[in-house]
Amino acid sequence: MRSLLATLSHSAMTLVMLGIFVVMVAVASRYPAEARFMPFVIGIPAILLCLLQLVLEARARRSDEAVDQRSELEKAQDTASQIVGHQVAFEPAAAAPAPSPAPAETVRREVVLWGYFLGFIAGILVFGFWAAIPIFLVAFLRFQARTSWRTALLLGIGASVALFLVFERGLKVQIYRGIVTNVVLDQLGR
């Protein structure tokens, strides 16, 4: 059971892709011959490629291939050493970007960031861009980037005003106002 779960997680992306192609080919099969021609020309070979990829992934798991875990700098040093014929090595002045967080911490951060992103999109759909943008910017800068309230408010509101001027005034684009905002504006108009 554990082995099956490990295989599924290892091949998750391939399975997602396989699922997408199978569903799209199945849906296309109901179209007239000319309309389904291209989806079949693409979808059927793609399904075969996904199956081949699944086989390759299963084999790779069995052979438990070593993964190249050298940093970009170490890889560059190794390549340069091969070219110049002597060992090239140096310590960078800046200790490079921060090391990757632990897996559990990564998942936690991913959930938080996806939460912000989905919340922002939901906010746009309900209240519109010009209400959602400043709230999102200030909240993210204050609680995620950990800036001071002053900086967060200054940057968040400043950027919102700048974007409003660029899109609504400069480019003359009517930006989406959201379901609730539209209803409220309609009510006020009455």
Partner: protein, 504 residues
């Protein structure tokens, strides 16, 4: 030809809109290049909403200039702090950083900025020289070949971006092709995969798809990683303008090497499949091999800075050639640029040589003028530009997410695109997390319509026999060879190739 060539230059230089946009593009490209977390591909994806609806030429000049000067500022952190931004910059680090440690940061930066600009200009010249040579080849292509070229484009990008596994790249490319079939079928009028959703009848929004596959996943990843390059002593960042000028003069002093490596870079750029950092490493290797004192390399030789910089920037000129004339992007950055060009209404293919020659020449001049402006700008501001390296990634995330959401909406004025953005971003992040390439998706989506149209035309003209046309057979051979080579490389990676592959 001469009239078109100089007419395009004159039209570009005398258009305040185009020149103004070019200046903005140079500045943005340089800032993006030095800022951690925003690569060239992402910057083009983010710029798309702002060029939407713009006339073709100013829009294309803006995007190309931004893309071309991106790498010019990328080496600042490599030289000053020993932290390469990407594969191209890694080659510059090997000699650039030891120079900085010896107190010659200004000389190294002067040489690298000038070499980069020089390479960009020579790359554009090589592209220009190749136009009359390639013209008969491009014009010989029929719809049959253009269908196969779309497949070849996906195969090449899958090869470049797929690393050890070409099949992942191919699957992602086919995913892009499949999504390109969404919308009304041009022959029967059947709404494919669109149901009653009218906003899908015209097809999936290319802008939304590109932003979802590239920008959102990159931003989530940047947010997860967090932080910036840790603080460093300001000592390394101190140098005089005299030292910078000494570095500038190193390029004319090594003009023969700079010219050779520029031409090598441009030629490598023309060959899809060699990867973004191959040009820089090939040129670095060439400089070592042709030097009378190869033992100086790796310890602070200025030729080790000049060669990779000229090569990697000259590559952009060469890479434009297959991108514009065949619709086959030579790098993943060019793949996103091609998508952006299509949004502006630029159709790659033989028409670029017949109907759109002034545009082609304008783009060549944009590379030349853009690089000249970039050198001038960067030589003055590089001391301060280096400080951008320390921008906290988490601070950039919300602003970019806002631009992405605005871009997805503005592209077609449809709020439903925000839902598409969320769905495709989830797939994009899954691809990023699983280490799958995303560039083939753009090529599939971009070339999908052209491929379908070409396939239908070829079938009407020749039936299945179109596969047996001589040019078709060559292209099929190239596709098969690329896949076979990728599989062979995967099974038996050679030492020499491993050196190049690890930095791609």
């Amino acid at each position: 030809m001469i009239e078109v060539m100089f007419g395009s230059l004159w039209a570009m230089l005398t258009s305040p809109q185009t020149m103004g946009l070019m200046l903005i593009a140079v500045l943005l490209g340089l800032i993006v290049g030095v800022t951690p977390g925003i690569g060239g591909r992402l910057s083009i994806a983010l710029a798309i909403p702002f060029v939407f609806g713009m006339p073709m030429i100013p829009g294309a000049v803006f995007l190309l200039t931004m893309h071309a000067v991106n790498g010019t500022s990328g080496q600042i952190s490599s030289i000053m702090f020993g932290v390469p931004g990407d594969g191209d910059d890694a080659a510059t680090t090997i000699d650039g950083y030891p120079m900085a440690k010896k107190g010659e940061a200004g000389r190294a930066l002067g040489a690298s900025i000038t070499a980069s600009g020089f390479g960009g200009i020579v790359g554009a010249c090589v592209f220009a020289v190749m136009i009359p040579i390639l013209e008969p080849v491009v014009l010989a292509f029929s719809p049959a070949e253009f269908f196969l070229l779309a497949l070849l484009g996906i195969t090449f990008i899958a090869f470049i971006a797929g690393g050890d596994n070409i099949f992942r790249g191919l699957i992602v490319g086919f995913y892009g092709l499949m999504l390109a079939t969404i919308g009304t079928d041009p022959y029967t009028g059947t709404p494919r995969f669109a149901g009653d959703y009218l906003f899908l009848w015209d097809g999936l929004s290319l802008v939304t798809a590109v932003l979802a596959l590239f920008a959102v996943p990159e931003m989530i990843a940047l947010g997860v990683q967090g932080g910036s390059i840790s603080a460093v002593s300001q000592e390394t960042a101190r140098f005089s303008y005299r030292q910078l000028f000494e570095g500038v003069m190193e390029v004319p002093r090594h003009w023969w090497l700079a010219l050779r490596t520029s031409i090598i870079g441009a030629v490598i750029g023309m060959i899809p499949g060699l990867g973004s950092s191959a040009a820089a490493w090939f040129c670095y290797g060439h400089a070592v091999q042709t030097s009378k004192t190869p033992e100086r390399f790796g310890k602070g030789a200025v030729e080790g800075v000049i060669a990779p910089e000229t090569g990697s920037n000259a590559r952009e000129g060469g890479a434009l050639l297959p991108t514009l004339f065949f619709g086959v992007p030579a790098s993943s950055g060019m793949a996103v640029l091609l998508g952006a060009f299509l949004i502006l209404g630029i159709q790659p293919g033989p028409k670029m040589l017949t109907d759109q020659l002034p545009l082609v020449w304008t783009l060549i001049w944009a590379l030349v003028v853009g690089n000249l402006i970039a050198i001038t700008f960067l030589l003055f501001i590089c001391r301060w530009a280096a400080m951008l390296t320390f921008v906290n990634g988490a601070m950039l995330v919300p602003f970019i997410v806002v631009v992405v959401a605005l871009g997805a909406y503005v592209a077609e004025g449809q709020w439903e695109n925000l839902l598409i953005l969320v769905g495709l971003s989830a797939v994009g992040y899954g691809l990023l997390r699983a280490g799958w390439p995303r560039a083939p998706f753009v090529i599939g989506l971009v070339l999908g319509k052209i491929a379908e149209e070409s396939l239908h035309k070829a079938m009407e003209l020749w039936g299945l026999e179109f596969f047996l046309r001589p040019l078709s057979l060559i292209l099929i051979g190239l596709i098969v060879l690329t896949i076979a080579f990728a599989v062979y490389r995967n099974l038996r990676p050679s030492k020499a190739l491993a050196g190049l592959r690890i930095v791609q």
